[in-house]
Structures are given as structure tokens and as C-alpha cells.
Symmetry: C2
Subunit: 213 residues, 2 copies
Amino acid sequence: MPKIKLNTNADNTLSKGALSILREAEELFATKGFDAVSINDIAKQAGVSKANIFHHFQSKDGLFLEVLKIACNRSAQALDAAPELLPDDPLARINNFFSGHLQALLAQPRSTRLIQWELMMNGEQRGKRLAEEVFAETFSRVVSLVREAQSHEIIKSEVDASLLAFLLIGANVFFFETRDVLKHLPDVNFAKSPEQYSTAVFDLLARGFEKVS
Amino acid sequence: MPKIKLNTNADNTLSKGALSILREAEELFATKGFDAVSINDIAKQAGVSKANIFHHFQSKDGLFLEVLKIACNRSAQALDAAPELLPDDPLARINNFFSGHLQALLAQPRSTRLIQWELMMNGEQRGKRLAEEVFAETFSRVVSLVREAQSHEIIKSEVDASLLAFLLIGANVFFFETRDVLKHLPDVNFAKSPEQYSTAVFDLLARGFEKVS
DNA sequence: TATTTTACTGACCGAACGGTTAGTCGCGGG
DNA sequence: CCCGCGACTAACCGTTCGGTCAGTAAAATA
């Protein structure tokens, strides 16, 4: 007679130890990358034994994948927050998404950096598809927003919607990536706050830099 | 009487072994990152013994730093190529630099990725300043180009020159970073060639996406 | 209460790590 | 001719790596 396995934990509850492992592993992986972090580092940081990590997760790769999954979900959820106060103006909706996207990136730097690491790894297959899916979903959302504005004749029809979406996302990601380096650069006045950056970029992209005589 | 050290190698010539070590180390570091590459990997790839690497370089960090220096120099030189055929039109000069910058990034993916890795490492001090200097130099060059165009009243004076420079560089770097992922995305028509991308981005930034009624 | 299951640990494993040592080989200068 | 020196290597060092295992304490199940 087959035993029915009744797990003590209700599906999505984890023991205190497992949670601290996930938390500290994310922190370490996000700041140093996969290969620079050892199981011992994580165990010490989380205050558990090394063997305990292998009790909860089958391998280092498995742990990383779990951490990455959580990060991807958090990252996706952050973009779905406050979906009700969407303005009617299609342009304002793009602007809304744009600044919200940057805020989401900055609010969860560990998740963002984790996905960034994974997109950077070329050889490994590990969780690259996961990271790419996050990227692809965000991308297609912006594309559809742009297309909608084009159908309302608010955005030039000759503008490539996918290119504009790419530039918007890229502007945010590049800001996130270089936010530390940016402080060392002279003559940078646009990065005092994310909001300032968002509005400035959006305005520049909207009107263009070329002087119309 | 102090012996004058006459190195067999004239100052900047290196032995065949040392060259292959540098070459293969760059290849491996660029694709996998610092921590994922072992001295053994490099030795095997370069066809030399592990000890030989420590004969030419004092440590793994030292080797990496040397590789990074070379990459930074190559990256800087690539931007100085063909400086004579600069057009008179300030706007065309920006466009020239913009497309040339992207071509330089793509033509030397190993150098580019190496610098990218180093900018990403937050904790390590290793060669981060080097990578930042490359970034800063490129940045200030674009800023001055923009300012020049503004003084000729070709670019709107109310546009933040540093922001525009940041967006231009960011557009190129982001394209480089995501060029592999880009192929998997649907509805992406702007990435058939770097030239097409360059002109499309420049055009969009120049005129803006907003429809003027 | 008796039995299973889970959370957790210290001791341990072979492999691989960065790095060292002792020594071989070939070549150029005195 | 030989001697010193740079290029180069096999073998080795202590340490740390990812991962295993036997066992314990406590909690859930029966």
C-alpha cells in the first residue's frame, strides 16, 4: 500500500533555516555572482551548517535556481503593482510604466542583479531561459503600450515600436547598472533622483534633441 | 657595479608562451568571468604548464589585471581610429562617433565583455578603476561633442548634454549586452545590422517619438 | 505512547583550487 | 667553452571546493 506523503509544511511554507538560506544566498549571489560564492560562505552567513543546505536543496545549482526563480517572480510582481491607477492617456501610461519599471529595478537590486548575472553568462544554461523570459515579458508589454499610443496617433507611426521599447528598457537597465559609477563622473546632473532621470529621459525621447529652426 | 639588466625581450615583446597565456586568458575570462576560470583551464588552453603562468605573472589577480589593461588600451584605441575623416557638421560627428562606438564594442567583444565583468563586480577593487576610467573617458568625449553641437545651435540648449551622452552610450552598451537575447525576441526588426540600429536610434533620439499635430 | 518524519550537525571524502619548489633545457655574451 | 639567465615543467604543498553520511533532537503522525 503506497504511503501518501503528507508534508508537514503546507505547500509554500518553509522552515526558518531554509528561509535564511535562501535570503543570504540571494544576497551573496547577487553581489558576487555564482562562482565566487561557496556553500560555506552561504552556510556561515545564514548561521546554519553546510550539510543543512544540502538537506534543503539538492545541489549548489539547485539552490541557485530556486533563488533565481524567487527573484524572477518578485521582479514580475513588482511590475504588476498598482495596476488600477493607470491613466487614460496612452502616453502617460507609457511614462507610468517607464518610471515604475525603474523604481522596481532599484527597489529590488538583488533580484535585478541576479537576473543581470544570469543574462551575462553565455555558456551556462542554468537559469538563462528564466531570465530571458522576464526580459521578454517586460519587452512585449512596453511594445504593446507603444503600439496602443500609435493607434491613437499620439506616437509617430513611422517609429519602430520595438526599438522605442528597447530604448526605454535599456535606459532603465543601463541606469541601474551604472548607478554607482555615475557618482564618480563629473558633470552628471540628471541622476539626482530616479524620478528626475525618468522624466528627463522620457521628455528627451518624446521631443528629440534636434533643434527645429 | 650594478648590472644593467638587458632583457632578452625588447621592452614590449613577450615570449610566445606569455602571449598565448594572455590571449587564452582573455578569451576565458571574457566568456566565463574571473572566478569561473582556473589557472589550470588557462594553462591547458594555452598549451603551457601551470607553473609557467606563475613564472610570467605573479598571481591569478596579476594575470587578470594585465589582461584587463590590454583590453582597456585596445578599447580606447579602437575609438581613436580614423580620426581624420571627421565631418564638419557637429551633428554628423556625433552620429559618426555613435556608430563607430558600437562598431568598436562589437568588433572586440572580448575586451568589451571583460570591462563589463569588472564594472559589475561590486566588492572587488581589482581593476574596477581601470574599467571606470574607460567608461569615463568615452563619456566625457560624447559630452563635449554634444556641447559643441549645442554651441552651434544644432542641438536644443535645454537638453542636458550629459544625459544625451549617457543615453547614446547606454543604447550601444545595452545593444551589445542583449544582442544574443535579442534574436529570441519576436517583433524585433531594428537589429538586423549594427548600422541599421545606429541610424534608427540616432534618428529617433534626434526627432523624438511624439507626434506633433 | 510508539513510530515515523523532519531539521539539523560534525566529521569526512575525493577532486580541484591557487601557488611553490627543484630542476631541466636552450641560448647569448664573455 | 662555459656560465648565467630566462623559459619552461613535473611534482608537490596546504587549503577549500561541492557533496555525503551517520547520527541526534524534536516534532508530527499514528
